[in-house]
């Protein structure tokens, strides 16, 4: 089990992580979500004893990482798949890491088989594609057959087949009773992989609950209603719904988005107001929307629209 208590990390005047406390339990995939720059990688590095926290502590199985007896056999991590010397072959890279931990050479060949890189084991890693590099990193994490696994954005750059493979790998590892801690900024992917979510924004904890609870908490249910094109009907219905305590909002495609009322009530109200309904369907706000709303205030890098005001219009086609 991974435990963080009051973790804080400051770089000079900037606070990267502030007062972070959570637990990551075995037997489940725990997703660590947050926008870019929210402090996910910093937190993972502190858990692995690579960065020293300014305050607080992080422990694995009750001990800080540096005090774990034989850490590589207990904890495996994928932090940065590009952190490989390009001049070394895949096999030699894994051999270096394996030898550091006293792991025999045949294990290296085993994990290369698990991740599917046995064909290119002797090729220099400089020439690896993004997906191959990620697989090599995952292989490194699996070397010691550890009970605790940390993955920092493992699906970056993987094609759908690769993403599917990683997702299944993680679920399988978790079902074997291991502690799996995965960080990502993709909510949709996390919803499919994780059982439990820890959401972080600007270095602070935003949510710590199971995926089901997160969905229930943050995605409000609503109904989409379509009335005949006559605007008078739409207005009549909106008035009736609002009077009953609901909230109706016109959507760009002409439908009404109604929240606060059950489908049954909407149907009754429409009937009483003598409005014909062409569509009445229940919806749940997507997890993406819920997540965006939650982290809306915590995004560091926000883009603006390109108004192209700085460019003079082209009057002639340049040949």
């Amino acid at each position: 089990m991974i435990e963080a208590a009051g973790l804080t990390k400051r770089y000079g005047a900037k606070t990267a992580v502030y007062n972070l406390s959570f637990q990551v339990r075995p037997g489940a995939v725990t997703g660590f979500l947050g926008p870019n720059g929210s402090g996910k990688s910093t937190t993972m590095r502190m858990i692995l004893g690579l960065d020293a926290p300014s305050e607080g502590r992080a422990t694995i199985g009750g001990l800080p990482y540096r005090e774990l007896p034989n850490a590589p056999r207990r904890v495996g991590a994928l932090l940065d798949a590009k952190a490989v010397h390009g001049g070394r072959s895949a096999r030699q890279h894994l051999l270096c890491v394996a030898q550091l931990s006293g792991i025999p050479a045949r294990r290296v060949d085993e994990v290369l088989g698990v991740v599917g890189l046995q064909e290119v084991a002797h090729r220099r890693s400089k020439g690896f594609s993004l997906g191959m590099g990620q697989r090599l990193g995952i292989a490194g994490a699996l070397l010691g057959d550890p009970e605790v696994l940390l993955f920092d954005e493992p699906v970056n750059g993987l094609d759908p087949e690769g993403i599917h493979w990683v997702r299944n790998l993680m679920r399988r590892l978790a079902s074997e009773g291991r502690t799996v801690f995965v960080s990502s900024h993709l909510m949709s992917e996390m919803a499919l992989t994780a059982d439990h979510l820890i959401v972080i924004g600007r270095g602070q904890l935003l949510a710590d609950m199971s995926v089901k609870d997160f969905i229930a908490h943050n995605s409000a249910g609503y109904a989409l209603v379509r009335t005949p094109d006559d605007p008078a009907q739409g207005e009549k219905l909106t008035a009736a719904l609002t009077k009953a305590g609901g909230h109706a909002q016109a959507e760009p495609d002409g439908r009404l988005r109604v929240s606060g009322l059950e489908l049954r009530q909407i149907s009754e109200l429409a009937h009483e107001a003598d409005v014909r309904l062409w569509e009445l369907s229940p919806h749940q706000a997507s997890l993406e929307e819920a997540y965006m709303r939650m982290t809306n205030n915590a995004v560091d890098y926000r883009s603006t629209q390109d108004r192209r005001a700085g460019l003079a219009p082209m009057t002639e086609v340049v040949r």
């Binding site: 590095r45 692995l48 004893g49 690579l50 960065d51 020293a52 990482y65 540096r66 774990l68 007896p69 034989n70 850490a71 590589p72 904890v75 991590a77 932090l79 940065d80 590009k82 952190a83 490989v84 010397h85 390009g86 001049g87 070394r88 072959s89 030699q92 051999l95 270096c96 890491v97 394996a98 030898q99 550091l100 931990s101 006293g102 490194g140």
Partner: protein, 256 residues
């Protein structure tokens, strides 16, 4: 705890699996032997043109080890690469995650680098000496002459210390560009130049390469250095110890 022997084995794999580190050692040996040999050959051919003063102070041992001035640059690159490539590729995070005891990790790296440097250094020194003596013809000296064995052996030690100095500095500076950008110009230009400038000479005498190279001198020359050959090597060793300790403290304290 990561067994020290396991870490040593890993460091050895790291060095031999990367072509650049192997090539720097080959370059060090090659440059030293070739340049020393050329100088010896030239001296032999031009002997009649050398004046009395030059002939009296002529040191065949030093001449046959003179290629070191370039060979040591390749050794510096070796020492720098061994540690700074970990930072430039990001491997340092993987290494330190696998060996959280940073002291063990550092000691293993220094040990493997040091042993390799000693082997290559000794081979280079002896090879350079014997080839140089052969090329010097009748103006050569023999290994059994007073002080010659000390000089050649000392040359190997000098090379080892040079590599370890580079390792210590590179651990503190972390970036290969910065480390090389400081060490190379220093040892190739600044140190020799300052040693010739009247005022700065007094300080330049105590630079690691200036102090250490005294061990390779056999013919006693009054160059104003107030220390003997072994003391000079000790001064160099002190520099190396400071660099290595600085490297250890830096590695232990800072974020990976």
């Amino acid at each position: 705890m990561a067994a020290p022997s396991a870490v040593l084995q890993s460091e050895w794999t790291k060095v031999r699996s990367v072509r650049s580190t192997v090539w720097t050692l080959v370059a060090a040996l090659g440059a030293t032997v070739v340049i020393s040999g050329l100088l010896c050959l030239l001296t032999n051919v031009q002997w009649k043109n050398i004046d009395e003063g030059g002939r009296a102070t002529f040191d065949p041992t030093t001449t046959s080890l003179s290629g070191l001035i370039l060979g040591q640059l390749a050794l510096i690159v070796f020492g720098v690469l061994v540690i700074s490539s970990e930072y430039s590729t990001g491997m340092i995070r993987t290494s330190l995650a696998a060996v959280p005891q940073r002291g063990t990790f550092y000691a293993a790296k220094v040990a493997v680098t040091g042993v390799l440097a000693l082997v290559v250094g000794m081979s280079t020194s002896f090879l350079s000496f014997f080839i140089g003596q052969a090329l010097l013809g009748s103006h050569n000296t023999s290994i059994s002459d007073t002080g010659v064995l000390r000089a050649v052996f000392g040359g190997g030690v000098y090379m080892t210390l040079m590599v370890l100095f580079a390792v210590g500095v590179a651990t503190i500076l972390r970036s290969p560009m910065l480390s090389l950008g400081i060490l190379m110009p220093f040892f190739f230009l600044i140190s020799p130049i300052l040693a010739a400038v009247p005022g700065a000479k007094i300080v330049a005498r105590y630079f690691p390469d200036r102090a250490g190279s005294k061990i390779m001198q056999v013919v006693a020359v009054d160059d104003g250095r107030p220390y003997g050959p072994w003391t000079g090597l000790l001064i160099m060793a002190a520099w190396v110890a400071a660099a290595l300790i600085g490297g250890y403290v830096s590695l232990k304290r800072r974020d990976a």
